[in-house]
Symmetry: C2
Subunit: 722 residues, 2 copies
């Protein structure tokens, strides 16, 4: 008849239950805490931020009846044992609680929300009203004294304890007038003291501890350059080396890039090696695809002897770093039939009933030069650990960024484990997912830990393709965890827009890539407008560098080095181009002209319909908490921030206009969002084209643009106010 004992349920409730996360059909929470943001998939995955960001936390919090509720965000920095807390403030409209705190170091932060009944202020507010209505408040004063005394019992400071006890005594002192006793009770000093020392009796914690992955700023703002070191040569018969490749670094640095990404640098398999243009009958001197990893000379932890030694590679990294460049390596978890693991660990592959190892296939196509790993093999412990150790091996040699080849063909669970493992030890490590697959899969890889992601950008060339895609990336839910990196080309993707659009097409796509998102990149040869496909209708390059050495004269006529140099310089000088969610498209009356604003100052966050100005108070208090168990102060294991916030850059608003048609001049009336930008509709203002140095005087919202793709395919306009 009375099957469940409510007391047992009550005892189970509150924070221990909330922490454990175990399933309870009915949770007994004195306070309701709902709809906490940011929360991704019910807390299953962390959202992403960078060092220097402020995390704004929102929550719906309420309880029965009329008592006041108080709430705070508790949070813990990566590696810290102590929790800190920041009070939440209530916004009547839209009935939401908010707080924020600064994210000042890399790693995975934890946070949650807790709330309690604010008995003192509930009581105090009633007392004020009763005093104003001249009601007798003798019993009220006794009630208030009980709350004050409970605060006194809770404090560790004997000075505060005796202050609180003294006020409580006055409140109960029948020799004093009720008026004097009420005055003592309502003194602001008492409120401050009790607020600080009162221990909630119904502290309720939100049922999830949520996570924020905080990366270094360079993980979210960078210009990438991809190059094959073996092509660093003047003679296609002479294999480039780390040393000759290092000779190209000053040029790349001077163009303003931040990251030099090298396709795999490991020994290349011989068995079923591919010849030039992906043929199956290589000539003896064909160098093969770097993605066919492993030979007698070693596997993923070795370098191709033709490129040099490990020490040569380390010197290459040092040269790059000295020039302000980071080196990113390709991480392609697959093996050529000659990879040492094939002999040492055949059980890490799919072994067929005839004893052979399964090669990759997409029936009826066969890829006999590649053996996929079996991530769910019996010895997965050995395999996963070995794979993680490969990353740690290269991290130890100065590589902090990894472009991961086809992560969607390896176990997702492996990546989640591996990235967490590596970043726990080396939080500065960047994982860049090269997954061109269905959107939900790409998003899932970003959720589970990839720092950056390749995108569909190369295939979005019209306004009708670009606008919704960019809005999805930068304004939709994915903006919390998916950081697109807009490569304008790759060794696999020479889009027909580039094939047919000539030099103007390369300049247009460069400008879009580098101004739409803070992360962008090009693959070597882009600056020379290389645009010949292997055959009509293909996105593969003719004489692809994937299978052969390509010698280039980077100063050849028609190069767009000046565009690249200027773009990267502007990007470094303007905060507007270093942020992800500050993009908004505005009307251009000619659909061939794309017009958008990148806001320079931090954009107000919108949390459930409420606009949170960036100036939100970040009053951080120490780790005080309602019960002794976790009242520890912030302790010494809080290391100082490992990475400084990005250096100063202009916070001006930028307006960008790009002619999307590489073949024709277009003009357009563009609509400047003057109201949002605080520009008076009747006053002229100056827009300064950062690409050319030209200044234009505009007035009102609607202004004229004319773009000749042969001359100037776009404007990057800094708005300069009187």
């Amino acid at each position: 008849m009375l099957p469940t004992d409510p007391m047992t349920e009550v005892a189970r409730s509150t924070r221990r239950a909330a922490r454990s996360g175990r399933k309870e059909p009915v949770r007994l929470e004195p306070i309701t805490i709902e709809c906490v943001s940011p929360e991704l998939d019910g807390g299953r995955y962390p959202v992403k931020r960078v060092v220097g960001d402020t995390l704004v936390v929102g929550a719906d919090i309420f309880k029965d009846g009329h008592d006041l509720v108080a709430a705070r965000v508790r949070y813990r920095a990566p590696g810290a044992t102590a929790w800190r807390s920041v009070p939440m403030r209530f916004e009547f409209n839209p009935d939401r609680w908010l707080a924020s705190f600064p994210l000042d170091r890399m790693g995975t932060w934890e946070f949650t929300v807790e709330a309690w009944t604010d008995r003192f202020n509930s009581w105090r507010s009633g007392l004020e009203k009763k005093v104003a209505a001249k009601q007798k408040v003798d019993v009220e004063l006794l009630e208030g004294a009980q709350i004050v005394l409970s605060a006194a019992r809770n404090t560790r400071s004997s000075a505060y304890r005796s202050s609180l006890q003294q006020v409580a005594d006055r409140m109960r002192d029948e020799t004093m007038s009720l008026e004097a006793r009420a005055r003592a009770a309502l003194a602001p000093e008492l409120k401050a003291l009790v607020d600080q020392h009162y221990a909630p009796d119904d502290l309720t914690e939100y049922r999830h501890v949520l996570r924020v992955r905080v990366d270094r700023p360079a993980a979210a703002f960078a210009s990438w350059y991809e190059m094959f070191p073996r092509s660093a040569t003047d003679d296609p018969r002479v294999h480039g080396t780390f040393e000759s490749a290092a000779g190209m670094l000053p040029r790349i640095a001077e163009l303003g890039f931040d990251v030099v990404y090298l396709p795999p640098i490991h020994p290349i398999g011989r068995t079923f090696r591919k010849g030039k243009n992906n043929t199956l009958d290589p000539e003896p001197d064909d160098v093969g695809s770097p993605w066919a990893i492993g030979s007698e000379e070693g596997g993923h932890d070795a370098v191709d002897p033709k490129l040099g030694t490990l020490e040569d590679f380390e010197r290459f990294v040092q040269r790059a770093n000295a020039l302000g460049l980071e080196v990113a390596l390709d991480f392609a978890l697959q093996c050529s039939p000659d990879h040492p693991w094939v002999k040492e660990h055949p059980d890490w592959f799919h072994i067929r009933p005839d004893g052979t190892i399964a090669y990759a296939e997409n029936p009826p196509k066969k890829y006999q030069d590649i053996y996929p790993l079996d991530f769910w093999c019996e010895d997965r412990e050995g395999l996963w650990t070995a794979c993680r150790d490969l990353i740690l091996f290269w991290v130890a040699r100065g590589v902090k960024q990894f472009r991961v080849d086809n992560p969607h063909t390896k176990a997702f669970a492996f990546w989640e484990w591996c990235i967490a493992e590596v970043q726990r030890l080396h939080p500065e490590t960047v994982f860049f997912a090269e997954a061109f697959t269905r959107p939900k899969r790409m998003k899932s890889l970003a959720k589970l830990g990839f720092t950056q992601s390749y995108t569909y950008f190369t295939w979005k060339n019209t306004r009708w393709e670009l606008v919704p895609y960019l809005e999805e990336l930068t304004q939709g839910p994915a903006a919390e965890y998916f950081r697109g990196n807009f490569f304008a080309n790759t060794p696999d993707i020479l889009h027909e827009y580039l094939q047919h659009g000539g030099r103007p097409a390369f300049r247009i796509r460069l400008l879009l890539a580098g101004t739409l998102l803070p992360l962008y990149g090009i693959y070597s040869g882009y600056e020379l407008c290389e645009n010949v496909p292997v055959r009509a209708g293909s996105e593969e390059y003719l004489d692809s560098e994937k299978y052969q050495i390509r010698v280039r004269d980077f100063d050849a006529p028609g190069n767009i080095n000046a565009d690249i140099r200027m773009l990267n310089r502007i990007r470094r000088a303007h905060a507007a181009l270093q942020q992800y969610t500050n993009l908004a498209f505005h009307t251009s009356e000619n659909e061939q002209v794309l017009f958008y604003r990148k806001a320079g100052r931090p954009v107000p966050a919108v949390v459930d319909g409420l606009v949170i100005p960036p100036s939100v108070d970040t009053h951080v208090t120490g780790g005080r908490s309602g019960n002794g168990e976790e009242g520890r102060e912030v302790s010494g294991d809080d290391e100082p921030s490992l990475v400084a916030p990005p250096s100063w850059s202009s916070d001006a608003d930028l307006l960008v206009a790009v002619n999307l048609d590489p073949h024709r001049i277009h003009d357009s009336m563009v609509h400047v969002p003057i109201e949002e930008m605080g520009i008076d509709p009747d006053e002229p203002y100056v827009v300064h084209d950062l690409l050319t140095g030209a200044h234009y005087t505009w007035r009102g919202s609607r202004n004229y643009i004319r773009l000749d793709p042969q001359q100037q395919p776009g404007h990057v306009l800094r708005v300069e106010r009187p």
Copy 2:
């Protein structure tokens, strides 16, 4: 250096981890299962349905690589120990898996999603392509034979086992031609056998078991009538009784109501009793407010002796039931100072420092006739159990519906516990939340278990108020759990629209309440268009029945009994008026005329942008599952359905037009959604006004309406096609 052992993590993964729900920083799931719908607050609360509904479950499911994935929904009926399952099918666009199953009994159903790699069909599909490409498939046949043998090992049927073994033998039989072996492997019979008997080796379960609360249909479709039994008298000096009130039941039944709701029927306190019109100085014969519960004569489990005995009440319930009416009681968890609990359990109340019990207050206002209970008192086990037992007490006396007074002033956790407890024993019980508070709190009460909810309907009188509110209720996320019940008036709410709009206002609001939502109600006197407030600007009635007996002549001139009778008859005859989410507003060119469609046939569900036709295959299989631990067949504890689906009613579409202005005639052109309704734009069609019997011939979308509030404030048009 190698801090976490991946193998330990792997061993933790799969279903046990998923079930336990405990926090794991990294979950090792071979298959990704995300965005399962319907899911409310990450599975924290159940969604709501009624018996007869089909639950459509959606999920995003994928894994690395190219193997085929298979998935199913596992679900468990209330009280059953066995799980059943239904296969999910994949929709390429929008990349979503779907399944559905029928909800054929009341209670809390559980469901989750599980997925696995479909190794046999992945292999089979490759074999087909290789055979077509005339590739050698000898090793492939050996691989397939291994899968077939694993299915053989898994089956319990020796006949199937030997069939499977025989085919595997043929596939490996080197004396046969490869073609014959491949034919054996590709036989559809083999596919069917393996599909049925194969045991997945990477079965992955979604991390939550989700819940659906399934109510009886009458919980979601009903017409309510509220009456004070003490007013069932011809003489205000003679207190009505259960017996005299039973005399009113035939009239209420004849008007077509389903539920008769009585304000509290318990003994009424004497201390601080309120007089007529809520005065503080009652006369000796004033009857007091029924919400001041408890006197020497008993508390919440007693009846006011003036109304009769408990046996009289039980007879009242029987009379009602015999007329097809259910009786709903008020459940107001508060006590008058004379309530027996005040003496027996003073510790269940707030005891003040002077030893007195705290009365209700909203400083500086005092409500000295009411003592609130302290739901978090030391003896909360005793209090909560006693409160639940009150419900069980009245359930045992035939009451299945409870209108809960001000639930938002009692602990939310108490309600969640109490409702679950009662419904576990008596799943037919309905809890109707009378919470007029901020929207998030009202929604939270619905989430935690309230079957129905009062709404802001009385305050929504213009098109600009009604349309967004109804769209929020019926089309927004709240439609999954919040069932509004549109009371047109209550003893507390006589809106100024009714005060000033005369009889037309009452007819208009009745028509809106009864056609916009399947749940609606009126409070006694509405049918007489009682519209005099206690004073100008108040929503309280003059001579409110809350404080005195009111004698009424229900056949008095100007009554709207005929409207009520007709509306309730139409509601019972049309499925369109029995559903919640089938409402859509359409253009009316005069904003004083509201125009909407209630679709008659089940509306296709929209799951993440995909339209699911109601005919979705509900192929239900037995409880077969991938591992022995839960391969139990559906067992005998599956009781038959307790409640039959609603009886037949017309599934015609209804178009409703209502003149919102009680003072003036309005005409309008209304836009019929002929395309959605499958009406040819060039063919005439007939709309049949169910209120008047008139027929109109319309053509195309735009048609003329003229509504005179004195005559006919609205149309309820059944669309009759040629």
